[in-house]
């Protein structure tokens, strides 16, 4: 149903309003583009319409979800309160927000140093970061697991089955992935600004906190968002590190529902999926402009 209204909106542009184009030329030059658009929109949106319908279907089974919007109830959403779902949502938000904030703070500070100071090892450091970012952290999940066993013996909060431990692991990837993105942007802020502030008696930390950070806020938003989104959906490390069900993130938890008893848990999963897609979807739609800018600057969704 949503598809229909959406596509209707797409086609409802009256063809006659295009000036100077006869009907046939309109079809060959513009009309087919609408046809392509409608078909791809259906392709892109039908799974999402389906999941919404499944979430609202009272049966809660995979078979029962096949008749779209045949009946609507909030039973699946109500049932979520009997599960760990909201705990997982809280865990995921905690981990993703902490990681995003930490990534922005540490990445921006490093980018500032590389962009503004000239020191021995600067070029080598930048090259090293370029090489390090080629090794995705998830490839080393075995070593991360073993490291956290060791750390957990000493400080349990940094070990396995701890959200703080997981955040620390994610922060380990912060510098490698984001410093370059930020470094380029920091370089576009004219140095004369720093120098003027320095002459007025500002210290390096005042310049950083009060001048530079304000001027680079668009890139901070991009990095924060991308980090939030990729942490939100990260699976393999979270799966390896978080062991007890109450500590799981959404990706680990919802996978558990679908992998065991797919048929029975389907309604629950669909409701959970709708709710957990909302934070990311909202960020995407409201901040489309920033994200598209960040994408073309070279990051890939994780």
């Amino acid at each position: 149903m949503v598809t229909q209204t959406q596509t209707a909106r797409g086609v409802s542009v009256p063809p006659r309003t295009a000036p100077r184009l006869s009907g046939r030329r309109w079809v060959t030059e513009v009309g087919w583009r609408h046809l392509v658009g409608v078909i791809t929109v259906i392709y892109a949106a039908f799974p999402l319409v389906y999941v919404l319908s499944a979430a609202l279907s009272p049966g809660g089974t995979l078979t029962g979800s096949n008749r779209l919007f045949s009946s609507v109830s909030l039973a699946n959403f109500a049932e979520l309160t009997d599960t760990f779902f909201w705990q997982w949502m809280l865990n995921t938000l905690q981990v993703a927000i902490a990681t995003a904030v930490g990534t922005v703070l540490m990445g921006a500070a490093a980018a500032y140093a590389f962009s503004r100071f000239r020191f021995r090892g600067r070029r080598a450091g930048l090259t090293a970061l370029l090489i390090i970012q080629m090794f995705p952290q998830m490839l080393a999940f075995v070593a991360i697991f073993l490291l956290l066993i060791g750390l957990g013996n000493v400080v349990p909060e940094l070990g396995l089955n701890s959200k703080i431990g997981l955040i620390c692991v994610y922060l380990g990837g912060a510098l490698g992935v984001n410093t370059f993105l930020m470094y380029g942007f920091f370089n576009t802020v004219p140095k004369e600004l720093d120098e003027a502030a320095k002459i007025d008696g500002a210290s390096h930390s005042q310049i950083y906190w009060t001048i530079i950070l304000r001027l680079v806020s668009p890139i901070l938003a991009v990095v924060g968002l991308l980090s939030f989104i990729s942490t939100f959906g990260e699976f393999i490390i979270a799966r390896v590190l978080l062991q007890s069900e109450s500590n799981w993130t959404l990706a680990v938890g919802l996978y558990g529902w679908v992998s065991s008893l797919l048929e029975a848990n389907w309604g629950l999963f669909a409701a959970g999926a709708v709710l957990s897609a909302i934070p990311v979807l909202a960020l995407f739609l409201f901040l489309q402009k920033y994200i598209v800018g960040g994408l073309t600057a070279g990051s890939v969704k994780g």
């Binding site: 583009r33 392509v36 658009g37 389906y50 078979t63 500032y112 999940f141 490698g176 979807l281």
Partner: protein, 523 residues
């Protein structure tokens, strides 16, 4: 008015708020560091102890010295990078050359101790003593009365020790200071725990342990193995067989039988040889390697072509509602990837899924369980997931093409097709190539999609290891590591495969980036 000296002073060296904030933060870091160092000392984790102390020293030097200005900004990120990225990568490299995994989990000392404990049995005619089941908090323990009438008590983690002031009635301990004596009902409730409990006689595993079957009499169990430190051999005292270290982290007898528990040793390049040459792994490995390339290349190509086609389609100012189209087309990209993969696994379900039941009118097509169809499904779902991204970047690239070049081509008499082929496409490729490379690297390791959609299945019919037709290298690493408990653990081989993936991705990225750079220079 600012004096020259004033410009030199940082706000964080006078007693200003900045300095105080720094002081508080450093104090917190130091407190945590000292706590961690002490804990590491107590645990005997000297590696962690040394690393903690070194990091603490560096942190304090950096933030209180005037010479380390850039480091003040880099250090926080650098610490995390060093511990959770660089160390971890190096450790992966180390594990790749060991036989770390099930049966080879720890050091040789631990292995010997475990072997001695595992092979304990009641020695004929060994002394029996009256026994009382006690508890120290949650941990169960035994209290026995020895021949001299002294009471000894201990738990699984605390060897037997003499307890003063215990009360003994009719030869049996009835009150033990520091322990709670369990009554009959409590013992019955925890019967299984009681019969499985082993309380070591002393710190030396060769002294054996006390166990019980009836919760009333304790027997001393001694190991049937005997460790000879000088000769570095284990001898089975019942059969007389001598076991020697075989150089591969196990004790082996002359006839080739080995003892169950081994230890971690360096095995050189054995893991790499196993991946490429061992019958059990080489076949699946080569097929998975090939499929990983096919999957990554086809994914990038298909999403790019569809995205490019859509970008061209909508890159026409005469099309109304382009913003609405764009917002709707971005949707698959805007929902988290794991949700999409799980959602499609339901949609494509053979017996109940929407695609078979509704779109195809009740067909039972094995979308996710047939070797070829499952590959097609994986690629199809990845197309759905990935085309919006390519659509976005192609749109951006098309709009940033300078119109001068296109006009110049028009003036030179180039037709539409010629302009497109010789001007637009090359320019477009130059600006999108780095993104295509990172997209390739991302898909090469797209664990979430594979694991959630098909779980790597369907299984290879002819392989003894749990691998399947849609497994890519990273999901193969995950299966082989055995980290989720579904297969025997083999950290060594898994790490070796990680290294292989890294080499492949790094080589391709390096070559491709160099190529695109030379492209840029030409243009």
């Amino acid at each position: 008015m600012s004096l020259p000296q004033a410009t030199r002073t940082s706000s964080a060296t006078g007693w200003g708020p900045g300095f105080l904030a720094k002081l508080v933060l450093i104090a917190l870091v130091d407190a945590f560091g000292v706590f961690a160092a002490l804990a590491a000392w107590n645990e005997g984790s000297y590696g962690i102890l040394a690393a903690t102390l070194a990091l603490l020293a560096v942190a304090n030097w950096v933030y209180f010295s005037k010479q380390a200005l850039p480091l003040k900004y880099i250090l926080p990120g650098l610490v995390f990078l060093l511990v959770y990225q660089i160390y971890v990568v190096a450790y992966t490299g180390y594990v790749a050359f060991t036989n770390y995994g099930d049966g080879h989990n720890s050091t040789k000392e631990d292995a010997i101790e475990a072997l001695l404990v595992q092979n304990e049995r009641r020695v004929e005619g060994s002394p029996s003593s009256p026994l009382t089941v006690v508890a120290d908090g949650d941990a169960l323990g035994f209290a026995i009365v020895d021949e001299d009438g002294d009471v000894l008590a201990g738990t699984a983690d605390r060897p037997l020790e003499q307890v003063d002031g215990a009360t003994v009635e009719s030869g049996r301990a009835t009150g033990v200071p520091g322990f709670d004596v369990l009554d009959r009902v409590q013992v019955l409730e925890r019967q299984q725990e009681v019969t499985a409990l082993r309380v070591p006689v002393s710190d030396d595993p060769e002294d054996g342990s006390v166990r019980t079957q009836d919760a009333r009499t304790g027997y001393v169990f001694l190991s049937s193995l005997e460790y000879d430190e000088a000769a570095d051999t284990l001898t089975d005292t019942t059969t007389g067989t001598v076991y020697r270290p075989d150089g591969e982290g196990r004790f082996a007898a002359d006839d080739g039988t080995t003892l169950a528990v081994g230890w971690r040793v360096n095995v050189g390049a054995d893991n790499f040889v196993t991946a490429f040459a061992d019958d059990r792994y080489a076949g699946p490995f080569l097929r998975i390697l090939l499929w990983t390339f096919v999957f990554a290349i086809v994914s990038v190509a298909s999403t790019f072509l569809l995205g490019l086609f859509l970008a061209i389609t909508f890159n026409d100012a005469r099309v109304r509602g382009r913003k609405i189209y764009r917002t709707l087309l971005i949707l698959p990209y805007a929902i988290p990837g794991f949700l999409a993969a799980l959602l499609w696994s339901g949609l494509l379900n053979r017996s109940f899924g929407f695609v078979n039941q509704v779109l195809l009118g009740g067909a039972a097509i094995p979308w996710l369980t047939d070797p070829w169809l499952s590959k097609l499904s994986v690629l199809g779902v990845n197309l759905w997931l990935g085309f919006p991204y390519m659509f976005l970047i192609c749109t951006g690239a098309l709009q940033s093409l300078s119109s001068d070049v296109l006009e110049a081509a028009k003036i030179d008499g180039a037709g539409r097709w010629r302009t497109w082929r010789s001007i637009t496409l090359p320019l477009l490729l130059i600006s999108t190539a780095p993104l295509l490379i990172s997209s390739f690297a991302f898909n090469f390791n797209n664990f979430t999609l594979i694991y959630m959609l098909t779980g790597g299945g369907p299984r290879f019919a002819d392989a003894s290891v749990p691998l399947g037709h849609t497994d890519i290298l990273i999901s193969m690493v995950y299966s082989i590591s055995g980290i989720d408990g579904s297969a025997p653990k083999n950290y060594g081989l898994a790490s070796a495969l990680s290294i292989v993936i890294f080499v492949v991705v790094a080589t391709i990225s390096a070559v491709a980036f160099r190529r695109t750079r030379s492209l840029e220079e030409i243009s």
